[in-house]
């Protein structure tokens, strides 16, 4: 994000090179504020050795949230990682669920503190 330049080079004959003028790259996502989260509780699969949790986001605002919706899990400590996160557009009052997968080799309690974003990072 911010001011960037793009440099290109011909890797075949090395005869063409170029640099763009400065361009401004703006974020294409916004933080969602009107939402609620429901998490089912963690379930461990002995085969995959991952914890799974169904996380449901509900649009509690008055306007449609445009997708894709990204859920960012806050406060994941070292060793605890989130394996996936996706979402789609949500009308007011509508809900969508995603199966979150966690690698949690230390078997710590998983914090469900979530920031939601509309758009692409």
């Amino acid at each position: 994000m911010g001011n960037q330049t793009i440099t290109a080079a011909d890797t075949v004959s090395s005869s063409i090179t170029g640099t763009s003028s400065q361009i401004n790259v703006a974020p294409s996502y916004t933080q969602i504020t009107a939402f609620s989260i429901f998490a089912s509780g963690p379930s461990y699969n002995r085969g995959t050795r991952l914890f799974y949790e169904t996380v449901t986001i509900t649009n509690t605002g008055g306007a449609t949230i445009n997708g894709p919706i990204q859920l960012a899990f806050n406060g994941l400590s070292s060793g605890l990682t989130l394996a996936n996160s996706v979402g789609s557009s949500l009308a007011p009052g509508a809900s969508a669920s995603v199966m979150a997968q966690f690698s949690n080799p230390s078997n710590i309690l998983i914090p469900i503190s979530i920031t939601a974003y509309s758009g692409v990072f």
Binding site: A39, P42, S43, R46, T48, N107
Partner: protein, 216 residues
């Protein structure tokens, strides 16, 4: 003498009392699990978990009355992780780990499959807290890694989500054949049953009063 409006309010109140019993199951209820295991033969594993998210209140799952026409593997095949203790032949107790920050609390035992397996689970109301916990039943094949009776990523045949206010949400999962091999039932906690009974008695009194007034 009661006016018509006062009588309507009284009757409406009786209906409210009659239906005070919660529509959703609640912690404190006893949940009856029944799994049709007839599609499998040989041995595998039964797996029971009770896991909390960070911030959940402390709660206990007590598993009793396990019954199968197969057989359990016995003490030598029992694996305990976190806050799980006991054995299925008598009683298994699994704490959700909220007290000691144990995120994985698991009871695992070998089982030779018959045609059914049943047991009961009593979940205590969470003490405080703001996050959910989950009680999970899974069955695994003889490698103790391949879920059977479930095609869900979790490997679960059934999952109970216990909310901070004691509400319990029930979810069962399809097996590879497309059928739901595990079914659940619940009996309300004594206080809920008494509330329902009290409401029904009041409703009966209301009906009798209305009939008496109409007859006069």
């Amino acid at each position: 003498m009661w006016g018509a409006k006062r009588m309507r309010i009284f009757v409406a109140g009786c209906f409210v009392l009659a239906f005070l019993a919660p529509a959703a199951a609640r912690a404190g209820s006893v949940f009856f699990f029944a799994t049709d295991t007839s599609s499998l033969s040989g041995s595998g594993y039964i797996d029971l978990q009770y896991n909390a998210n960070a911030g959940a209140g402390a709660s206990t799952a007590t598993i009793t009355d396990f019954l199968t026409n197969g057989s359990l593997g016995g003490a030598a095949t029992i694996s305990l992780v976190g806050d799980a203790s006991g054995n299925l032949a008598s009683t298994v107790t699994i704490l959700n780990g909220a007290l000691d920050s144990s995120g994985y609390n698991d009871y695992n035992e070998a089982i030779t499959f018959g045609t059914f397996a049943t047991f009961e689970v009593a979940l205590s109301n969470p003490v405080g807290g703001t996050a959910n916990s989950a009680f999970i039943l899974s069955y695994y094949a003889s490698d103790d890694a391949t879920p059977v009776f479930s095609t869900d990523l979790t490997g679960a045949s059934a999952l109970l989500t216990v909310e901070p206010n004691g509400t319990v949400l029930v979810q069962t999962y399809r097996s590879a054949s497309g059928s739901y091999d595990t079914t659940l039932g619940s009996t309300p906690e004594p206080s809920s049953a008494l509330t329902l009974l009290g409401g029904l008695v009041l409703l009966a009194i209301c009906a009798a009063r209305v009939r008496w007034r109409c007859d006069r």
